[in-house]
Amino acid sequence: MGSLSSLPGADKRDIVVLEGVTKRFPGIVANDSIDLSIRPGEVHVLLGENGAGKSTLIGMLSGLLQPDEGRILVDGKLTQITSPRHALALGIGTVFQHMMLVPALTVAENLLLGGPWWQRPRTEELEARVAEITRSLGITVKLHAKVSELSLGEQQQVEILRAMVRNSRLLILDESTSMLTPKGIDELGTLMRRLVEQGLAIVFITHKLKEAAAFGDRISVLKLGRKVGEIPSERFRALGEQEIISEIVELMFGKQKDDPEAVECPIRTICVEAAPLLQVADLAVAPTDNTPGLSSISFDIRPGEILGIAGIDGNGQKQLAEALAGQRVATGGSVRLEGTAIEMLSVGERRQRGLRYLTDDRLGEGTVGTFPVSINFFLKQVGAAPFWRNGFEQRAEIDKRAAQLVREYDVRTPSLKTPVGRLSGGNIQKVLLARELAEGAKVVIFNKPTYGLDLANTLASRQRIRDTAARGLAILLISTDLEELLSMCDRIAVIANGALVGTVENVDDARTKVGRLMIGLAA
């Protein structure tokens, strides 16, 4: 490998340079001739819609994938990053979008993974190191808890910690803020700043433009696998937040809009006298080894109303959703739909009565990854007419309707036969949305409906939820994103330790009230 320092565009300061990198998957060009340079002392924000190819790019930097074309320079030298081990040796540490921890091992064991095989794991050394890092980070991690017992948010913290423990020169964070609380996000921002000041390079992927503007030094935007623009650091520093956001929006969507996430305050009138569609009283669920229980949860939702559930991840949100949907056994309390008790009904029966549940675990339970997109639209209707008649599958009907839904919800898929697991997260989410909002819905539970979605999809999904409510459905919206709740809900309840600690009408000072409830103060 000769010296390539004379290459055009290569800057001595760059740790990593990508030149014309292309990656193809069956039926798709995920990265199309991408050029990118990554420098120490900079947070390089990578933006792009779902499926734009961000994670694929990261995969090549971290040794998981090999580019089909193009080349990667590390410290100015042409380098083939052949394995994750190689990437680590080069000082490239990655926090992946999908959890990369071993659930059966403890946090400490996960952090120790990767040491020389003959050694005893060096627990003491690790503990000291972790103590040092967490102190400067201001977070706490339970080193001896099993990963499977942690909430997704906690797991994400562990992953960030792991990248830090490894002394990386280049830290890559793929949607690492998606599971953090607003406070956590701010802290991560501060941390990134401190790290780049120490000379690290950071690649930061997010869908939230505000984060991009607040934490970044340089922004690259991907679209449909191509890099469509870059805001270099000089320009970045010169612009204000609003200007940056509008510039990004222009790059991403080619349209002008000031702050796309700006709250359009809900101006819906809900008939106060209308009988509640969903009535929950004293719902209780027993805790298990690794999940919190629920105690005396009570609320009503009227037709057309959106009730938000705010709270830090892992406080019983999932248990609540599952107990309502019938997937988890309730130990007490009642659930009424249109006045009739449904707590004794099975998942399928509840669905038939119009209760819908959009899960936050798209791949784990929402879809069957190896099945085609078309079938995944109807997973919850197997056997129902017109897609099945006398138990026999009606392929034409299924494909016709699936094609319609693909178009309607803008699902980006090579074909209806593509296994759904191959789609990017955002597109899988669209499949779920399409499925749950189909005919007959009366009450819909959304669990983190926009987690991992790009801006356009997030906005579209939110609009769909609002439209759904406008059709007179009752909506329960569980989210860790406070902005989202504030922009959508009529009322917001706060959950903590498996109990509702208060409910707030979404009017002017709701933000502070919810915030106070979330940190354990009275509203």
């Binding site: 394995s83 994750p84 990437a87 680590l88 095989w117």
Partner: protein, 311 residues
């Protein structure tokens, strides 16, 4: 009837139980390692047969049992190498290859035996025992447990060595990660394929050793199909043990004891048809399964080949 259950007879029964348990123990420990690392090794019966045959050949021609154990383990490793190549490296279906290997080695070893030994049926001299001083003087138990070939004690030591390995070494962590979430191991910088290969080869070595013990010490000779399903029992033991080597030991001993019990009951003249008595060990395990089997947690990625970067 008191005379029937003399001290000598009782210790012979228990001695027999231990002898019968050792091949199962080795197979079970081996299978456990593969399973931990995420490979369902159905070919273990074939590995045992290869070990039994080559182990016998080695011991017979060299006159040294130790050399026999070595060639037996090597035989197991050779078969495991095929398994590792096909199932770990290029990700072929583990059940297909496992069964194919078992069938193939049943045939191959029977074939070789036919051409080589089927007129002479050579037999090895008795395996010399390492007598553990003091302990072997305990009545009944002494001769049953402390007068075995050295390899038996080594096998027992292996149980604890493996326990230590799984709990207290980096390799132990790696193996568990390879079976539970290989992608996480991969991004931690450890080669999943290599880790699993090592696990499968170790399985081969242990199963081969178990086969060699079965042929050289257990029977003192090789005949076709000598393993008689011991490999499949090893799979069951490994799955029952939930990752803990001592449980493999307990399971293997349970089997050995049940086998000896059937002999004891017959010798005692208890008039139950033998076919019924012979169901005993399997019934015992089935009952254990019904009682304790719940959520026998197997590694999440068991049986799933790993390929980097696929989703």
């Amino acid at each position: 009837m008191t005379g029937l259950f003399s001290e000598v007879f009782l210790s012979a029964l228990m001695f027999g139980a231990v002898t019968a348990a050792i091949p199962l123990l080795l197979a079970g420990l081996g299978e456990q390692m593969s399973e931990k690392a995420g490979v369902l090794n159905i070919g273990i019966e074939g590995m045992m047969l290869a070990g039994a045959y080559l182990g016998f050949v080695g011991a017979f021609y060299s006159g040294s049992l130790w050399l026999g154990f070595l060639t037996g383990a090597a035989g197991g490793v050779v078969v495991a190498l095929i398994m590792a190549l096909l199932c770990v490296r290029i990700g072929l279906n583990q059940i297909v290859i496992g069964i194919a290997l078992t069938l193939g080695l049943e045939g191959l070893t029977a074939l070789l035996h036919h051409f080589q030994f089927s007129r002479s049926y050579p037999r090895l001299p008795a395996a010399d025992a390492t007598v553990i001083p003091l302990l072997s003087d305990i009545p009944v138990f002494g001769p049953a447990f402390f007068k075995h070939h050295l390899i038996v004690y080594l096998a027992l030591a292996l149980v604890f060595a493996m326990g230590y390995l799984y709990r207290h070494t980096q390799l132990g962590l790696n193996l568990q990660a390879a079976g539970d979430k290989p992608a996480a191991l991969d991004v931690a910088g450890i080669d999943v394929i290599k880790t699993r290969t090592i696990a499968v080869l170790t399985t081969g070595a242990l199963a081969g050793l178990g086969g060699a013990y079965l042929a050289n010490v257990g029977a003192g000779l090789f005949i076709p199909f000598i393993s008689n399903g011991a490999g499949f029992l090893g799979i069951v033991l490994a799955m029952l043990a939930r990752g803990r080597p001592v449980w493999v030991l307990f399971g293997a001993l349970l089997f050995g004891v049940c086998l000896s019990l059937t002999t004891a009951m017959q010798v005692a003249g208890i008039n139950i048809p033998t076919d019924v008595i012979q169901m005993l060990p399997f019934l015992a395990v089935m009952i254990m399964l019904v009682l304790f089997g719940r959520r026998a947690s197997l590694p999440a990625a068991l049986g799933i080949p790993y390929e980097r970067g696929t989703r």
